[in-house]
Assembly symmetry: C2
DNA sequence: TGCGTGATTAAGTCATACTATAAAAGGGCA
DNA sequence: TGCCCTTTTATAGTATGACTTAATCACGCA
C-alpha cells in the first residue's frame, strides 16, 4: 500500500479523497496547480509527484495548457488497493458495496475451485491457520478481522494465477467494509460465518473443487445478506 | 492510457519493460537513481515522476536510504491497462496468457449474464454495432480487431457495475494478444468466432441471462483453444 | 559480547528558471 | 464578410542545484 508518511503521499491522499467525493467536478476539470499548492502550501515537486501517482491509478490525466482533469470514472482503477481504501474513506455508498459483492460472487467461488484443485500443503496450512485465527479471537476484534482477510487472501494465492490474485485486495476491502459496519454484538452472524468458513476450508482440504465453489458461494451470499440487512437498518428507504 | 510522448512517460515505459522482463533483479533492488539517469540522460524530475507513476501501479516501491526496489510481483497491478500493455511488449509467455484466459472464463460469462439482464436499448445498439463492425471488415484487419474489442467492452459497460468494468481492459488485452498471434489466413476460426459472437448478441438481445452466460463461455473456450493451438505450433514442447 | 550512537548514503523536498504545447485571440488575405 | 494563419498566453513539462530526512552500517563504548 501507500506509505502515508511521505509528503507526496499525503497530497495524493487528499486529492484522491476529494476526487472520489466528487468535490472536484465529476468528469472534467481540476483546480489549477498553483491554486491547490497555495491552499496546502506544498512545493511544486511534491504536488506534481502526487499527480503522477494518481495518474498511474487512472484518477487524473494532465495535458499541457488544457490543465489537469479528473479522469472519467470508468478509467479509474477501482480494484487498486489504494483507490479502494480511498473509497472507504470518501464515499461508502450502498451501490458500490453491492457492486463489489457482485464481483466477489462471480470471482471468489471460481477462485475457491482453483484453490481446491491446485493448493499445496503450505497453501492449506496457511488457510487453516487463518481459520483458526478467526476462532481463537473474540468476534469482530482486530486480530479476527485480519485472520478473516488472510483466509480469503490465502485462497487467492493458492490459485497460482497472478492476474486473478489481483482481485484479492478488492475482496478484502469488501470484507473489511462489511465487518466494519457490523455491530460487535451480532454474534449470531459471526457464528454462522465461522461455519461457512469451516465448510470452505474443508472442501479445499478435500481437493473438491465443485464443493469448494458451492460453499464459497454460500459464504459470500450469507455475508452479502447480513451486510445488506445492516445497511437497511442504518439508512432505511430507497432500496432498489 | 498513458501519453507516450511525455518524457516521464517514456522513462516509465522503459523502466517498466525492464522490470517486467526481469532485467532489474526479480524481487528486490533496483539500480540507483543517478546511475539510471546517466544512462538515459534525463533530468531528475522526469525520472522521479516516472518512478512515482510506476509506484502508483505497484511496480516499484522507494524508501529513503534503502533505495528504490522492484516490488514483489503480487503487488503489481496486473489488471492495469498500461501494465498489461507492457507485458505484451516484454514477456509474452504462455502461462500468463493461460492465466488471463482463465480469468476471462470466470468473469466474462457472468458479465454477459448481467448485461442481458440490465442492458438498455443504447447498450444493445452499441453491442450490435460492434458485431456488425466485425462482419463488414476483412478478418483480422485493424477495424475488425477494434470492433471485437468494442463488442466485449460494450458488454461490460452494460453490466452497470463499475468495479466489474475494470476487468474490461484485461479482457481486451487478452483478445488483442490472441488476435495478434493468429495467422491472417486462419479463416476457419474467424468464421466460427463470428458465429459465437452472434449467438451471444442474440442472447443478450433476448434478455436471457443464463443463455448469454453459457454462450459467452463457449466463445471464450473456443478462443482459448484456438489460441493454445497457435501457441503450440509456434513454440512446441513443454506443454504442462 | 551487546548495545547505543553517529557517519553515510540515497531518496525526499524545495525553489527557481526555462521549455514546449495547445487553445484562444487577433490580424491579414481572399 | 468569412476563413486561415500567425501570435499571444496560460499551463504543464523539464532542468538544475541546494538542502532535509531517514534507514543502514560500522564504530566505539560499556
Amino acid at each position: 500500500m501507500l506509505s502515508p508518511d511521505r509528503l507526496f503521499g499525503q497530497v495524493a491522499h487528499k486529492l484522491a479523497v476529494g476526487i472520489i467525493r466528487g468535490v472536484s467536478p465529476a468528469g472534467e476539470l481540476l483546480p489549477n496547480e498553483a491554486d491547490i499548492r497555495s491552499e496546502i502550501s506544498v512545493s511544486r515537486t511534491a504536488y506534481r509527484e502526487a499527480v503522477k501517482f494518481l495518474t498511474g491509478k487512472g484518477l487524473v490525466e494532465a495535458r499541457p495548457k488544457s490543465g489537469t482533469r479528473v479522469a472519467p470514472r470508468d478509467s479509474w482503477n477501482l480494484l487498486d488497493p489504494d483507490v479502494l481504501a480511498w473509497h472507504f474513506e470518501a464515499d461508502p455508498n450502498e451501490k458500490f458495496i453491492r457492486d463489489l459483492f457482485e464481483l466477489r460472487l462471480f470471482v471468489e467461488p471460481s477462485a475457491a475451485r482453483l484453490a481446491a484443485q491446485r493448493r499445496s500443503g503450505d497453501d492449506l496450512a496457511r488457510i487453516e491457520a487463518a481459520y483458526r485465527g478467526m476462532t481463537v479471537n473474540p468476534p469482530y476484534a482486530e486480530p479476527t478481522v485480519q485472520a478473516d482477510l488472510a483466509f480469503h487472501e490465502a485462497i487467492f494465492e493458492a490459485t497460482r494465477n497472478p492476474p486473478l490474485q489481483c482481485l484479492a485486495p478488492a475482496v478484502c476491502a469488501t470484507i473489511q467494509w462489511s465487518l466494519f459496519l457490523k455491530a460487535p454484538d451480532d454474534r449470531f452472524f459471526f457464528t454462522a460465518s465461522l461455519v461457512d468458513h469451516e465448510r470452505v476450508l474443508d472442501a479445499i482440504s478435500q481437493r473438491d473443487g465443485d464443493l469448494a465453489a458451492a460453499r464459497m458461494s454460500g459464504l459470500v451470499i450469507d455475508s452479502l445478506n447480513s451486510t445488506l440487512r445492516l445497511l437497511a437498518s442504518r439508512a432505511p428507504a430507497n432500496a432498489s
